[in-house]
């Protein structure tokens, strides 16, 4: 595997001459999702699993900026949404394999005013309890230590889910190897209610019959960005070079020189780890040099549709769901597509993305960067951006059919994961072949990478500018094992690290700059 990775690195030689960086995920990036938060995809990840290179992990994050203390109902998944992870394995930009997830909510204790409650071994009515509640009657259930059964009495609200694989038009339910229901992991309410949250959350990792692992629940939002500065017309902090990082700041993946606006927030996640043999068109593990090794992946959310025609009248509008949003590469819709077309883009299929070529081939953002920083940018049409939207080297092996222009995350499944000490936030642009845009890991700094890609880094080293927001790492450490994201932040203890506050890097070190 190491040899294969070296091959890919060589393929990237021209590309690596300059260190690139990019932009951030997509929270509320289109009118339709600004109106429909539960269906809003914040991020989509696809990478070869760190601890098992024979599997790929997909992570679909939805429902942005969940304030951890925001009870009493917290953050259930929406029972009416169809969450889907779609994989193209034949360069067609059409889904050859899909994993579909749907949730069911159960109210276990309809008289209780909060979704999750518990303390210690439980609290009973005291001696002075007024009638008709007799002293000793259980009032507060024991702390929540399990997703079901003993230790789960405090889950006034719980969610189970089903997952299906769709392949060649055939839908196959994927069931728990123990046959037990799959429970979504609730958010971390706080230490009294959930005294050992990591242990509770870990119970939500299930192994399905065919070796697939799955997890669904509320987790720390793994994305990091100086969101306020970015959307204040790229008004980046002076300490972050005003958007042009110093060499030292750019080289240090572990220190933030600006505030992570997503710090202290949670998000809902569906993570699924799938054997590569179930994903490639050959049904085998392939070397990175194989033209069949690269897959395309994207996530979607869909809702039941109201149709013009009523059943049982024949309908010209087929399908019981309509797509609300999709995401492959981060920030395409957020930063490239014009406001008047964002919903159209969200509801369209990747295979039809050539209709958005005018946005892709002369991105307004590039011209804004040109105007603000005076930097030279490539002359349109920006064909240098094509590797992000077609099957092309350096991600796909030479000779791989390019397929149509389509926004998907391309992942060469033959590239081995990079060990943590060698992992680079700038991914492929920094010589880390297992990072974005070869798939996307939770730690990849797609904000900086995308900024630099739009500025022209893919067109050659003359367009290599150290653009960035100054946020180089997440506010809490990621996990090195499935589901890789950090567990949900505590509702009682959470901390947003805002401008001017001490501990800009994971709560430690220098204060976050204000200006």
């Amino acid at each position: 595997m190491h040899k294969v990775k070296t091959t890919i690195c060589l393929m990237l030689t021209w590309f690596l001459a300059a260190p690139p960086a990019g932009f951030a995920a997509s929270h509320r990036e289109a009118p339709i999702t600004a109106l429909d938060q539960k269906a809003d995809i914040t991020d989509f990840f696809a990478f070869v699993s760190y601890e098992d290179p024979t599997k790929v992990t997909f992570i679909l994050n939805v429902d942005p900026f969940l304030e951890p203390g925001n009870g009493p109902n917290y953050f259930p998944f929406d029972d009416t949404i169809l969450y889907s992870i779609n994989i193209d394995n034949n360069n067609s930009a059409l889904p050859a394999v899909q994993f579909q997830v749907q949730f069911t909510t159960t109210i276990n204790a309809p008289g209780v005013f909060t979704g999750f409650v518990g303390a210690g071994a439980g609290i009973n009515a005291p001696a002075n309890s007024p009638a008709p509640v007799a002293p000793g009657t259980p009032i507060v259930p024991p702390a929540i230590t399990a997703l079901s059964g003993a230790g789960a009495a405090g889950l006034s609200l719980s969610q189970t889910y089903t997952v299906s694989m769709v392949q060649n038009g055939v839908t196959t339910p994927l069931t728990n190897s123990t046959s037990a229901p799959l429970y979504a992991v609730p958010t971390n309410v706080g230490p009294r209610t959930m005294p050992n949250y990591p242990a509770l959350a870990a119970q939500g990792i299930y192994t399905l019959n065919n070796g697939i692992k799955i997890f669904a629940g509320t987790v720390d939002d793994p994305f990091y960005i100086d969101l306020g500065a970015t959307f204040d017309s790229l008004n980046f902090r002076t300490a972050a070079g005003g958007g042009v990082l110093s060499a030292a700041a750019d080289a240090n993946d572990k220190v933030n020189t600006a505030s992570d606006y997503v710090s202290g927030y949670n998000v809902n996640t569906i993570a699924i780890q799938v054997p590569i043999t179930m994903l490639t068109s050959t049904g085998t593990l392939l070397p990175a040099t194989s033209t069949a090794a690269t897959i395309g992946a994207w996530g979607t959310t869909s809702r039941p549709r109201t149709t013009v025609r009523r059943a049982p009248l024949p309908s010209a509008s087929s399908g019981s769901f309509s797509q609300v949003q999709r995401m492959g590469n981060p920030l395409i819709n957020e930063l490239i597509i014009g406001t008047g077309s964002k919903d159209f883009w969200s509801m369209s299929q990747p295979v039809n993305d050539s209709q958005f070529a005018s946005f892709d081939l002369d991105p307004l953002l590039a011209r804004v960067l040109n105007a603000i920083y005076g930097i030279a940018i490539p002359t349109p049409p920006r064909t240098d951006l094509l590797p992000l939207v077609t099957y092309a080297p350096p991600i796909a092996a030479p000779g791989t059919p390019a397929g149509p222009i389509a926004d998907m995350l391309r992942l060469n499944t033959g590239v081995a994961p990079t060990p943590m000490p060698s992992r680079k936030r700038l991914g492929l642009l920094a010589g880390d072949a297992a990072g974005f845009p070869n798939g996307r890991r939770v730690s990849d700094d797609v904000s900086d990478i995308s900024l630099r890609a739009v500025a022209g880094i893919l067109a050659g080293p003359q367009y290599n500018y150290p653009l960035g927001d100054g946020v180089n790492t997440n506010d809490v450490p990621y996990q090195e094992v499935f589901p890789y994201v950090a567990w949900a932040q505590s509702g009682r203890q959470r901390r947003h690290i805002d401008p001017g506050e001490a501990g800009c890097t994971m709560g430690a070190g220098a204060a976050c700059p204000t200006n």
């Binding site: 017309s233 980046f236 005003g242 025609r309 009523r310 509008s317 919903d343 509801m347 804004v368 920083y373």
Partner: protein, 385 residues
């Protein structure tokens, strides 16, 4: 990389200048004309007066001179074209706008209207479905889908969606609220629910006392109950408010049914003069003219010439029904059946069309088909249009 990378003091201004590069030299000057056109279009719809659309069009021309790419003006121009029944041009311009701004549901609504009027029901359905998908639960989506359900012969479904649209509509939207209530009243009347029909139609008129459509609906309701005096009174009021060819024709029909032959003849003659004058225009009363010549003047050749010409541009059920009827009156039964089948193909269950289909089938000695349409003819006199 440049030696110095500086952030200009006003990034927002830089972005704005870029975004506005292709836009208006003076958008504020154009705004007055756009607002004037908007008011005229609203009034034109309520009063069914094409002259007001023409005025609106002139205001928009001026707005677009001042601000050639003004999106609101371009949108309103499509509304004007729809009002003037220039559906082909409205469709062309709406498609252009839709390509520029695919997330604007108002433009999708224009596409529905144009395709529906031209008889391209498949496209109209796709457009309406897109609105329902794009803005779930939107008033516009339900209203457009309701119109399609009518066209597809699902009046109960149409009523359901009109009600959904009404629930979502601001009380301040008097004109559109009145229009949807009138549609619901018409459907209730066709379904034989006179009390419900009255409730909706009177409600529509109380919201918008100038509503031509509500007055026409109430006249049809009165006629269905044999109260021709009231039907004539309402029809006269309608003509007083808006003395157009179509309204005059409806008055003549009511007078004829009420037994006032001489007065009816006077109105028929007035109608003929007005309708002949506008027959080459997009906003015309050619459909009424077809029935006038076919049934009243017994001049099938004239009726057929007008119907065939109209059908060159539109293939909606109403146009095809008129063509089929002119063919029937001309003795061209096979062709009449062909066009009638086309008219009914989307599924429409309008008693007027079904009555024509029944008579065509009977003339062709197709008793099975004639039988299938039951009492359509007796019902159609009550709820015609």
């Amino acid at each position: 990389m440049p030696d110095e990378l500086s952030v200009p003091p006003s990034c927002a201004l830089a972005m704005l200048s870029l975004l506005c590069a292709a836009q208006n030299p003076d958008p504020r000057a154009a705004q007055g004309y756009i607002e004037k056109a908007y008011v005229l279009v609203q009034h034109a719809r309520d009063a069914a007066r094409p002259a007001l659309y023409t005025e609106a069009s002139a205001a928009l021309d001026r707005a677009l001179e001042l601000s050639p790419a003004n999106y609101e003006a371009l949108k309103l121009r499509v509304a004007v074209l729809l009002g003037l029944h220039d559906f082909s041009e409205a469709l062309r311009q709406a498609k252009e706008l839709n390509k520029k701004v695919p997330d604007d549901i108002a433009v999708w609504g224009y596409l529905v209207d144009a395709n529906l009027s031209l008889g391209d029901y498949d496209e109209a359905e796709k457009d309406a479905q897109w609105i329902l998908d794009l803005r779930r639960g939107s008033m516009l989506g339900f209203a457009k889908a309701a119109a399609l359900r009518e066209a597809f012969g699902d009046p109960e479904g149409a009523i359901e969606f009109y009600n959904e649209a009404l629930l979502r509509m601001s009380p301040a939207e008097k004109s559109e609220r009145s229009r949807l209530m009138t549609r619901n009243g018409r459907l209730q009347l066709a379904a034989g629910n006179a009390a419900k029909a009255k409730e909706f139609l009177e409600g529509a008129l109380s919201i918008n006392p100038e509503s031509q459509e509500a007055l026409a609906g109430l006249a049809a309701l009165a006629a269905s109950q044999g109260n021709y005096a009231e039907a004539v009174r309402l029809s006269r009021k309608r003509v007083e408010l808006s003395p157009g060819a179509g309204n005059t024709y409806d008055l003549a029909v009511m007078l004829e049914r009420s037994g006032q032959a001489a007065e009816a003849e006077t109105e028929y003659r007035a109608f003929e003069t007005m309708a002949r004058a506008e027959t080459e225009k997009t906003f015309n009363s050619n459909r009424e003219l077809v029935f006038y010549y076919a049934d009243h003047r017994k001049d099938a050749a004239q009726a057929l010439a007008i119907a065939a010409k109209e059908a060159e541009n539109r293939h909606d059920s109403a146009t095809l029904d008129a063509w089929a009827w002119a063919l029937y009156r001309s003795g061209k039964l096979a062709e009449a059946k062909t066009q009638m089948d086309r008219a009914l193909a989307p599924g429409v269950r309008d008693n007027g069309y079904l009555c024509h289909a029944q008579q065509i089938a009977a003339a062709m000695h197709d008793d099975g088909t004639a039988e299938r349409f039951g009492n359509a003819c007796s019902d159609s006199r009550a709820v015609a249009k």
